[in-house]
Point group: none
Chain length 223, copies 2
């Protein structure tokens, strides 16, 4: 569960935010002033900080800078009606985003999620289907974390299967899916590629029989 630290002196505002964040499965800690924040962050390491620029005791910008001295934790600035320059300075300080008051709590929650997603670098280079993981960037497919060593044709074949598990493809459909250009090859070619793919799948996962032959029609992939 992600942990959000809110540093905000307006109690009402903070309470609304806390309610919304809690409803979105965030754990929230709230400070009404900035004095103890640095120490707390050092020991508790929240996943993200919502930081009000206008605090009673310390200056929000300085606090942001100070936190940046020792942590890359994402920080979203919360601030009342600032002019353009201030916005930019906020970002120059090393903040990751900002929201202006008045804001809707929904907006803030969305920003928090967006910044978290960004900072986690959770980049989806492909898709996950059950135990399979297709990565177009690296041209690899993993089965249970092990990389299958596939040829280009096998890669495209398996990817096609994974995208439509359970569907029965006839050989023409398979060939059309695998070759962008409309080259013509024999049906037996499909059999051979299926055989080779089966072999590689079996060595990676001996107990499982993924590719089903459908007599008179073609093949289907059963996850």
């Amino acid at each position: 569960m992600k942990h959000v630290l809110i540093v905000e002196d307006e109690k009402k505002l903070a309470d609304v935010l806390i309610a919304y964040l809690n409803q979105n499965q965030f754990k929230v800690t709230h400070f009404e002033s900035g004095s103890d924040v640095v120490d707390w962050v050092k020991t508790n390491q929240p996943n993200i900080i919502l930081l009000d620029l206008m605090l009673p005791d310390v200056n929000g910008k300085d606090l942001c800078k100070e936190i940046r001295q020792f942590s890359m934790v994402p920080i979203i600035m919360v601030t009342a009606m600032i002019d353009e320059i201030d916005r930019l300075i906020g970002l120059e300080l090393g903040a990751d985003d900002y929201v202006c008051k008045p804001f809707s709590p929904k907006e803030v929650v969305a920003r928090v999620k967006a910044v978290l997603r960004r900072s986690e670098g959770g980049l989806n280079h492909g898709e996950v289907y059950d135990a399979f993981e297709v990565n177009d960037q690296t041209y690899t497919i993993k089965l249970h974390r092990d990389r299958l060593d596939l040829t280009p044709v096998e890669f495209r074949l398996l990817k096609m299967f994974l995208q439509s598990p359970g569907r029965v493809f006839n050989r023409d459909q398979i060939l059309n899916n695998i070759f962008e250009d409309g080259r013509i090859v024999l049906d037996r070619t499909v059999d051979t590629h299926v055989k080779n793919l089966r072999h590689k799948l079996k060595t990676a996962s001996p107990e499982h029989d993924y590719i089903r032959s459908v007599y008179g029609i073609g093949y289907s992939f059963e996850l």
Copy 2:
């Protein structure tokens, strides 16, 4: 020199931005529609993208998502007077910031700089990737503290690989990355440079096989 891609159909607006960015030492490429953007980004890898949400042909949001499938390149959404929901969706899509029209070019330049600083400030302090250390000042790369004696082409090639370990580049992409100018050379040239680089890497670290040939596609670098 940082390379900015602008995807914007209002030509006047784009021209102003281009002028400002050029004045700030940015290299700029401009697309007036979204249709060819994805392919271009794949081969040219800009440092940041300014993306208009309202394009004549494709939907800006979809384009953003599509780019996020294969690249972490920072994206700033540019958009006319959107309501709150649209903003949020923009960020949920994986965009890094947004600006609303009408905007001042100065603001945009500042945002670009801020986002670039942010996205670079992340993990790789300076330019250390695993056992490799890239120094742009001296045009050298160290492996395990030993300086590799690389030619300019080899330097850019290795740097490109290091910036996207695991990613499979085809030969066009490699050539576009290595030569800023659009000169055209043969695919076989890539093979030769890869061979030479492999040799130098091997003499520096005999046990390790860094560059993987991906049959039918190209090469990738495995740290």
